[in-house]
């Protein structure tokens, strides 16, 4: 009964927050609603028993996307208009048909899922019995790297492509106009960073290591690490530069390149592509991917091509 109430609250909250996020008159409120929506979504994932997704949603969906939106808001909207209130955009004529169509689509999919006869899942059982031979306790990490290696590889490639596209759109001026306010000179920020940054790095490494036997992994660890980077940028410890140094470039490419190289080796021996040679390869690729993900997200937030020591660094 209580759990049913909780689920109902989450569902109603999700729909309300989603509506508020897209229909809010003020863009700023919309962003805040989106962040709260992400956190509620993480709760929903946790309730359906998917802690990996819940962590990724909370870290990336709510945390980093929210930070990116806020920084975009500050750069694009806040400085332009004199009045704090955003002009209400005129409602498109297509809005109502699209809303009805989407609602119908969701309804039909939901109904067909309710009434369809569920075939007993064979693949999951087969994978789980196969996994007995591999020393990976977390089936999600194992499936992502051993069976869906191509998907994971392409996800990392998509992230890199998104970063390159953002750089191309931002042009050469990116990184000069700092997105952050001058860091306040108060000793409390330093104290916070001194505690939080080591803790964040520790959590990221734990998530990466834990990914092999319990919820966690490269994406979650990378997002947490990127959170530390966002804090450092906001407090002026590091700042964006237009051009990346060699170390940053290597970090950006590490995940994709190491995954591809290790994935290509089996071809020489006649094994299928991306058949990972062993557990060490999983750890190596996950570590490289975590670094690449973190650096990509930090650079997206900083709005620059590279990083340097900031004013207060």
């Amino acid at each position: 009964m209580t759990l049913f109430l909780l689920d109902g609250l989450i569902v109603v909250g999700l729909v309300t927050l989603a509506y508020q996020a897209v229909s809010s008159r003020s863009l700023f409120r919309g962003i805040i609603h989106f962040v709260v929506f992400g956190l509620t979504m993480a709760l929903a994932w946790a309730r359906v028993g998917a802690p990996d997704l819940a962590m990724a949603e909370a870290a990336i969906g709510a945390g980093l996307t929210g930070a990116l939106m806020l920084v975009a808001y500050r750069r694009l909207v806040e400085g332009r208009s004199d009045s704090p209130a955003d002009p209400a955009p005129a409602q498109s004529r297509l809005a109502l048909p699209i809303a009805i169509g989407s609602g119908l689509l969701v309804g039909v999919i939901g109904l067909s899922a309710l009434f369809s006869e569920v075939e007993p899942a064979q693949a999951g059982q087969a994978v789980l019995s196969e996994l007995q031979q591999v020393d990976l306790g977390n089936p999600i990490t194992a499936v992502l790297l051993l069976y869906r290696g191509l998907d994971t590889l392409l996800e990392v490639a998509v992230l890199l492509t998104a970063f390159l596209a953002a750089r191309a759109v931002a042009g050469a001026d990116g990184g000069e106009g700092s997105a952050t306010t001058p860091a306040p000179e108060t000793p409390m920020v330093g104290a916070l960073l001194a505690v939080v940054i080591p803790l964040t790095v520790l959590v990221a490494i734990h998530l990466l290591r834990a990914g092999s036997y319990e919820p966690g992994g490269a994406f979650q660890g990378g997002a947490v690490l990127a959170g530390a980077g966002v804090l450092l940028i906001l407090s002026g410890r590091i700042a964006a530069t237009p051009v990346a140094g060699p170390l940053i470039r290597m970090g950006l490419l590490a995940g994709l390149v190491s995954f591809m190289l290790i994935g290509l080796v089996p071809l020489l021996k006649g094994s299928p592509l991306l058949a990972l040679p062993g557990l060490w390869a999983v750890y190596f690729i996950e570590t490289a991917m975590m670094l690449s993900i973190a650096i990509t997200l930090i650079l997206l937030f900083a709005g620059g091509g590279g990083l340097k020591r900031g004013r207060n660094g």
Partner: protein
């Protein structure tokens, strides 16, 4: 219900009460400083009560120390962010209720 359950329930309910008070204060108080006042006091105590309720419920040393860590990190983050907001408000914003309403 055992005694542990009773204590857990009491602590959790008390924690929720403090959270509720803090949220009502956040929504109802007139300006930034009053709102921060409501948030920083009530929510920190609320978090402590909820954490200790869960600690009593679990009783394992590992969980208890994790909950303690969560409370301490929460305290730290809440303190510093409230300090920064108050500082910014003090330096940049007019403190009349109308102005701070816009900044919410």
């Amino acid at each position: 219900m055992t005694l542990t359950d009773d204590v857990t329930l009491a602590l959790l309910l008390a924690g929720c009460g403090f959270y509720l008070a803090g949220t009502v204060g956040l929504l109802r108080f007139p300006d930034v400083f009053c709102r921060l006042h409501a948030l920083t006091k009530a929510d920190n105590l609320g978090l402590f009560l909820v954490c200790s309720g869960l600690a009593v419920h679990s009783g394992e040393a590992r969980v208890v120390s994790l909950l303690l860590l969560i409370w301490l990190v929460g305290l730290l983050a809440a303190t510093v962010s409230a300090h920064l907001i108050a500082r910014h408000a003090h330096q940049h914003l007019a403190t009349s209720p109308e102005d701070s309403n816009e900044q919410r």
